[in-house]
Amino acid sequence: MNANGRTSRPASVPPVDRGFVPPEPDETFADALERLSFDGLLKEARTAGDERITRALAAPPLDRTLFDFAALLSPAAAGRLEELARASRRLTLARFGRTMRMYAPLYLSNECMTTCVYCGFARELPIARKTLTPQGTLDEARHLLRQGFRSILLLTGEHQRLTGVEFLEDRIRLLAREVPSLAIEVQVWSEEEYRRLRSAGCEGVVIYQETYHPDTYARVHVAGKKRRYEWRLLGPERAARAGMRRVGIGALLGLHDDWRYEAIAAAAHARFLMRRYWRTQVTVSVPRLRPSASGYQPRDPVGDRDLAQLVCALRLALPDAGIVISAREAPAIRDGLFQLGVTHTSAGSHTEPGGYTAPKEATEQFEVSDLRSPAEVAARLRELGYDPVWEDWSAVAPATEAMLAGGAGRR
């Protein structure tokens, strides 16, 4: 027993290094990340040979180690992308079926007190700022509901006063009466604040770490509360503890020069969350940096083949995680990735507040590449043999509660 009263592993029996160390009690992902054999994993991701890749592909999905995952990210594995794709597709079909969960982003505000050098909302940029009124929020949501969406992701910049927790609670309560499923992608909160948002009707939280690489993180987040790397890193854990049903993570690909580094950290993060918070559905996003008012250019952009390889490797290492591709990517690559391992997607997105009902009045966060309407994307999914799923869960809204009290039903 150590000072915390928990039993430690006997020092004489080192655990087999599977690359991922399961969480000890009371341990956060920051601790786990420190214990990760990053050097060995990166070496595997750079130099794995053909035989190593064959072994990683042959391993039963649940036995795949983080070293297997790293091997699947390697340049040599890129030469066997078709094999990876077949295995990834097979696994995705078995676990998720021929379905694609649809969601839409709804930007509530582009006010921001933080400076992220890559973001179109950054504090000092002279852009058209806007925060939606309650009525404006409802108008946007109703537009999305008419298009078929039942799952809406609410987004804001980082502004303590204008888009604080009371603001979010208020907007969530307003929307929960009409929208079956609500999630947020906003500044990070404490566990207690997440609990408040959960009781207001929010079920999901998305927090991109942006970059898991601490030095890069410090370089691109130059001012504002978001500079606190670890506070953000532990956000998903606080959200899960607060009872959120879904937690989304990811790195913004293009910030750190080595996408394989980000992939390894994100996969370890997902495994940590799944092991520790067994009730929480974990999704992983693989967003690539897009042009924005910031003018930021990645030094080493992640290529299309890299992205496809990453999606396949994530699926092979995380058979049960949701994988998200948003409308930021172009139609051709999206349609391809849908068939490899993606399970969640957006369509017809606007990244400026009010953009669905009054496009371009405010400045957008970044340019989306897929300009197809939700109906067009849904039709394409059906052509590809996938059923677009708009409603996958409904937090019971007051309107449905009224049915219990004797209101009219569907038949």
């Binding site: 676990r95 079926g97 379905t99 049960d320 043999g385 019971v396 449905t400 049915m403 039903g409 569907r410």
Partner: protein, 277 residues
């Protein structure tokens, strides 16, 4: 030649008869049209639909229920997605308020990856739903004691899993399911993990009353043909069960029986040549 197998062999659940012992789930299909064809080919008479995917308020848009003929199939709403008893009970009440049948396939799965059922919450929800007049068909782990508890609570069936949902690994819970079948006084339905018609046949041979299949049909290369194959697998297994299978032998039969000496002993006793006076 007379048939040993009674061809009129309905499955009876809560007083209602079904000609098919295959229940089909509606998730994971690529389209509602393919699903409809697969249901037709499967010969099923009972179809389960996730309430979370039903547009209960009829707000418009394509709705799965338009593709499931309520006159032909008993619609079995399920509570998938519910993470505790309270959510499951609320979904069931909503379904009934919306005019759906008061049969409910009770699923309480707090864990999103394997979707394994929470026995404690399932029992709690079952007790409440039975009291409210629902016909309750609970999805459970292959736990014989839980099965008896649910039966006592008034459930219409018990539905143990063969292996975890979507795994297509077949009936890995064979020994526990055998005990559940032996002890049950309500129909036993193997609910999850059957990945091939041979798995379904195996379950039926064990003596379960019906099987529920979804993923293996929905994600097959040709879902309609696979539905047909499952229909045949279920029928084959059921007939084999009714026919009374030949017991499996542990080893080849010895050509000279080990107890043969007893016969020889008997013969020798009867032999006057060795009988002492």
């Amino acid at each position: 030649m007379s048939h040993i197998v009674d061809l009129a062999d309905p499955l009876v659940i809560a007083g209602r008869s079904f000609g098919s012992r295959l229940i089909v789930g509606t998730g994971k299909f690529g389209s509602f049209e393919v699903m409809r064809e697969a249901l037709d080919a499967s010969g099923t008479e009972m179809v389960t639909v996730a309430l979370r995917r039903v547009d209960l308020e009829a707000t418009g848009g394509p709705d799965i229920l338009e593709f499931v003929d309520g006159d032909r199939y008993l619609l079995l709403p399920n509570t998938s997605g519910a993470v505790d008893a309270e959510e499951a009970v609320r979904l069931a009440r909503l379904a009934r308020a919306a005019g759906l049948p008061s049969w409910i396939k009770l699923e309480v799965t707090p864990e999103p990856r394997y979707l394994l059922p929470d026995g404690a919450e399932t029992l709690k929800a079952a007790e409440r739903l039975v009291a409210e007049g629902f016909t309750v068909l609970p999805y459970i782990n292959a736990d014989p004691v839980l099965a008896k508890r649910l039966e006592e609570a008034g459930c219409a069936t018990v539905m143990p899993l063969g292996s975890w949902i979507g795994s297509n690994q077949g009936i890995r819970t064979r020994d526990a399911v055998r005990i559940i079948v032996e002890q049950a006084t309500v129909p036993v339905v193997v609910d999850a993990g059957l990945g091939a018609p041979s798995h379904a046949a195996e379950a039926m041979e064990l003596g379960v009353d019906a099987v529920l299949v979804n993923t293996a049909i929905a994600v097959a290369g040709d879902p309609v043909e696979m539905a047909r194959a499952f229909r045949l697998g279920v029928e084959a297994g059921r007939r084999a069960h009714l026919a009374g299978g030949a017991p499996a032998r542990e080893e080849a039969q010895a050509s000279s029986p080990l107890t043969g000496f007893l016969d020889r002993l008997h013969t020798s006793q009867a032999d006057p040549a060795v009988t002492s006076p």
